[in-house]
Every structure is written in structure tokens, then in C-alpha cells.
């Protein structure tokens, strides 16, 4: 579904990604784990075309994204829930969700999707009139995911969705990611919570200083010595 080949990227002179190859098939949960600054968010920003690759190619459903603008990518069904949530602070919860379904394709399913995200996150329903900027960190994270789902994603890019959530809710969020996947949404997940994300992932990649150093099934990587030492503190 998504195929990244030899992706390289630099912020000015600072090279961040080196020949990254990565693939996501329809229906999968694929996770990318790596230390701070490894380049995970940068990779997602390349996929969403917020930044343009220095070299290499990204294609989605067989079509090259080379000439796509960020808003075209969303129209094709690649939707990113960015790191740091990026909620619209002065829009209400409802308005934030409406913006998620801004494009015509998603707009026609607005009511249906709104019901769906309110069942996933009942808290949002209680706070529908509240301004995004006044929500708590965890609530904002729920809103960010819900807003992404409003766009009818085929492929959902999640950048550290568990960041800043209470331990209890972290478990919850991984279950919700599984549920979303079960509804037919393919997922590319970037996480610091390596244990949880490897547990729910079908396949996983380990990114170190901008290079893919390991890949395999989530199960196998959980048993991998290097992964255990570097990320799981074992």
C-alpha cells in the first residue's frame, strides 16, 4: 500500500534520513521505533509531504507522491496525527473534528464518523463545546486521533499517540489502535513505548540515526537481544 524506497532527507546541511526502505501493506499495523532524534517524525513529515525528500521515492497504492501537495496526500487517504497533537487551540472540539472531515470525500461521512469517534472517546462528547486549547494533554491526544479518523483514512500515521497519557490510558490507547485497525484502517505507528507498540504490531522497523537497522515481526523484535537492551531495559 505504502512503499518507501531509498528515502533520504536533510534539514539544510543536517542529514536526518539515510536510504530508508519501508513498506506497509493493506490491513497491517506497522510500527517504527527508535531513540529520540532518530528521524521518525521526519519520516512521517516526508510521507505527508510537509517536507520534500532530498532523494528516494514514496508511493501510495502504486502512485508516486512526488508531485503531491500535503492536502492532496490527505485526499488520497493518508492521514497523519502529528507529534504534539497540534489541536487548533481556538476551535471547539466539534470544530476541530469538523476540520478533520474538511475534504469533500470525508464531509459526506461526517455524521457517521462523528458518532464513531464519540463512541471511541466518550470524553470528547462531554466536552464538545470546549476550546481545543483548554483541554488537558490527554484529552487533546484523544481529540487529535479522533480528528484524524474524521478524515476517512486508509492509512493512519500516528506519531507518538501515547505521549503524555496516564499509564491506565496508555493501555487503552493501544487497544483503541487495534480497534481502529480492525475497522479496516491500516496503521503506521511511531512510538516511544516500544513494548506496547511491538505487541500490537504485525511488523516493525528499528530506526537508528536515520537508518533502518532492524526489521521483522513485532513478536520477533520483542525477543531480539539488541531491542531488549536498547529499548526495553532488559
Amino acid at each position: 500500500m505504502l512503499r518507501i524506497e531509498k528515502l533520504s532527507f536533510a534539514y539544510g546541511d543536517l542529514r536526518v534520513l539515510w536510504d530508508v526502505d519501508l513498506e506497509v501493506s493493506k490491513g497491517e499495523i506497522v510500527t517504527v521505533v527508535g531513540a529520540n532524534g532518530a528521524g521518525k517524525s521526519t519520516m512521517l513529515r516526508n510521507i505527508s509531504r510537509l517536507v520534500k525528500p532530498t532523494a528516494g521515492s514514496i508511493s501510495f497504492e502504486g502512485e508516486d507522491l512526488q508531485r503531491s501537495e500535503p492536502h492532496d496526500v490527505v485526499g488520497r487517504g493518508i492521514v497523519q496525527v502529528p507529534e504534539g497533537r497540534k489541536i487548533f487551540p481556538e476551535l471547539t472540539v466539534i470544530e476541530n473534528l469538523r476540520m478533520g472531515s474538511y475534504l469533500p470525500g470525508a464531509r459526506k461521512d461526517r455524521d457517521k464518523n462523528m458518532d464513531w469517534v464519540f463512541t471511541l472517546f466518550p470524553r470528547l462528547k462531554e466536552r464538545e463545546k470546549q476550546l481545543g486549547g483548554t483541554m488537558s494533554g490527554g484529552e487533546q491526544q484523544m481529540l487529535a486521533i479522533a480528528r484524524g479518523l474524521m478524515a476517512n483514512p486508509k492509512l493512519l500515521l500516528l506519531d507518538e499517540p501515547s505521549l503524555g497519557l496516564s499509564p491506565l490510558f496508555v493501555k487503552n490507547i493501544f487497544q483503541i489502535i487495534r480497534d481502529i485497525n480492525a475497522e479496516g484502517v491500516t496503521i503506521l505507528l511511531v512510538e516511544q513505548n516500544v513494548y506496547q507498540s511491538l505487541r500490537i504490531a504485525h511488523r516493525a522497523y528499528v530506526l537508528e540515526t536515520g537508518r533502518v537497522v532492524l526489521q521483522g515481526s513485532g513478536e520477533n523484535l520483542l525477543k531480539d537481544e539488541h531491542v531488549k537492551k536498547a529499548f526495553l531495559g532488559m
Binding site: K86, E90, E95, M99
Partner: protein
């Protein structure tokens, strides 16, 4: 007491026009983070357009607003598409130079076409007024105020209730996140600059029956637009509307109680005072 009421009312009526000017500037700034130094010149274009429609087609200024508003939307949108969209990532000083340059081109073009003569647009009601007790209320200013209220209400509805309006606000609040929602931010910028131009040109059209029209008339209004928006808080629409009314009132109070030559002094003194107390403006988000 009559003097007070009189200048309060005239101030509010004038403030409505100022509110439109400020709203236009703040809308553009909010979405693009670009300060439009051609703002007053766009207003000047609106004034001449109104003048032409009146002199050659006999259309009343308050009616021709219906033509001026959409035409200036296209004019502003084109400026955004052709020029400003290219410098959105450029250094602020380059953006400033670009808008100053565009303003100069507009005022010089006006000079070529119309010479620097002062034009006066005299309608049957230009100096008409209604007496209420001891107070006289200018007829054209009253009509213009009603139009500003209608335009502001329509703008508010558009920004609050429509998908496009919400997308404009979303773009102003977080450009990256807006793109991740599938919002075409370049298009939102075109709409915002078009609307900003329509608003300030409408202000120009509304004051055309009571002001002199000449090519350099914009400069003073650009300055005024800044004072209004900075006073209200850059990027805040409510702030700009409030700032406009406050500036209108303080101008007319200053003129009534101190002297016509002093009204700008009063405005700037008030402006400095507000910024001393609240540096981010009345409706601005303070960083403190």
C-alpha cells in the same frame, strides 16, 4: 452633555469604518503572518472605484459596494496568488518590501490615471444630517455604519459557521496542522487576502461620500490600520473591531474637547497607554 453625546455618536459611526479597515488587516495577518503595507492603498483603489461607478454609471456609493466588494475580492486574491504566496516563507523584511512596493505601484498608477487632483464625490445626502434633540447625526455616516455592522455580522457568520471559514481560522491557528487536515493553505491565503481587500475597500467606498479622494490617501489609512489592529491585538478579529470603535471615539472626542488638530495626538497617546498596560493589545494573547 450634548457635546459629549454628539462626539460619542460620531465617534462610534466613524469607528465602524475603522473596524472594517482593521478587520481586513488582522485577517490577512492572522492567516499569513504578513503585514500588508499596501492596505491603505487597496482602500484608495476602492475609493476610486466607487468614484468611477458614481460619476460614470451614476451608481450610489452605498449601492456600488455590492460591486466593489466582489471586484476587490478578485483584486486582492490575484495579488495574493501572483505575489504574496511566493514570499510566505521569505524573511519578514522581504515581505514588507513587497507589500510596500505593491502599494506604491497602486498609488502611482492612480496618479497616472487620475492625476493628483482631489476628487469629491458629492451625493444628495453628503452633508445631510438628522437632528435628535441637540445632537445632529450625519446621514451618510449612519448609513455607512449600518453597512459596516451588516458586513461584520456576515463575516462573523462566514468565519464561524462555514467549512471554508473554519478552515481559514484553522490555517491561522496552525498552518501545518491545517495541511494535515487536507486544507489547501495557499487557497485559504488567497481567500483571506481577497476578503481583507474587500473589507478595506468597502471602508473606502463608505467614506467616499465624505472624504477627499486622491492617490496618496492610502498612506494615512495604512498607519491607522496598524494602530487599530495592534491596539486590538494582532490577528484578533474582535480586537480589530473593538480597536476601530475605540479609535473612532477617541478621535472625535479629541477633536471636540481639545481641538481638531489634536485628535491624532489623543489617538496615539491612548495607543501607547494601552500598549504599556497590555503589550499584546486588548484581545491579544499575552505571553506573560
Amino acid at each position: 452633555m450634548d457635546v459629549f453625546l454628539q462626539s460619542l455618536i460620531s465617534g462610534i459611526l466613524l469607528g465602524g469604518v475603522y473596524a472594517l479597515i482593521g478587520t481586513g488587516l488582522t485577517l490577512i495577518f492572522g492567516v499569513m503572518r504578513v503585514i500588508n503595507f499596501a492596505h491603505g492603498d487597496i482602500q484608495m483603489v476602492g475609493m476610486y472605484l466607487t468614484y468611477l461607478l458614481f460619476v460614470h454609471a451614476g451608481i450610489d456609493p452605498f449601492v456600488s459596494v455590492l460591486i466593489t466588494f466582489p471586484l476587490m475580492f478578485l483584486f486582492g486574491g490575484l495579488i495574493q496568488k501572483v505575489f504574496i504566496n511566493r514570499v510566505l516563507d521569505a524573511l519578514p523584511q522581504n515581505q514588507i518590501l513587497l507589500t510596500i512596493g505593491l502599494g506604491l505601484i497602486m498609488s502611482n498608477t492612480a496618479m497616472l490615471i487620475f492625476t493628483s487632483d482631489y476628487k469629491i464625490l458629492t451625493t444628495s445626502y453628503s452633508s445631510g444630517s438628522v437632528k435628535l434633540g441637540g445632537i445632529s447625526i450625519s446621514q451618510p455616516m449612519t448609513i455607512s455604519f449600518l453597512i459596516t455592522v451588516a458586513v461584520t455580522a456576515a463575516l462573523w457568520w462566514f468565519l464561524k459557521k462555514t467549512d471554508t471559514g473554519q478552515a481559514i481560522r484553522a490555517t491561522a491557528q496552525d498552518r501545518d496542522a491545517a495541511q494535515l487536515m487536507g486544507i489547501n493553505v495557499k487557497r485559504m491565503s488567497i481567500i483571506a487576502f481577497g476578503l481583507g481587500s474587500s473589507l478595506v475597500a468597502t471602508a473606502g467606498a463608505l467614506i467616499a461620500p465624505t472624504y477627499y479622494i486622491y492617490p496618496q490617501v492610502g498612506a494615512a489609512f495604512t498607519l491607522k490600520a496598524f494602530v487599530i489592529t495592534v491596539l486590538g491585538g494582532m490577528g484578533s478579529i474582535v480586537g480589530a473591531a473593538l480597536g476601530g470603535i475605540i479609535i473612532g471615539i477617541s478621535e472625535s472626542m479629541g477633536a471636540a474637547y481639545i481641538g481638531a488638530g489634536w485628535k491624532d495626538v489623543v489617538v496615539f497617546a491612548l495607543f501607547l497607554l494601552v500598549l504599556l498596560l497590555k503589550p499584546s493589545g486588548l484581545m491579544g494573547k499575552s505571553n506573560a
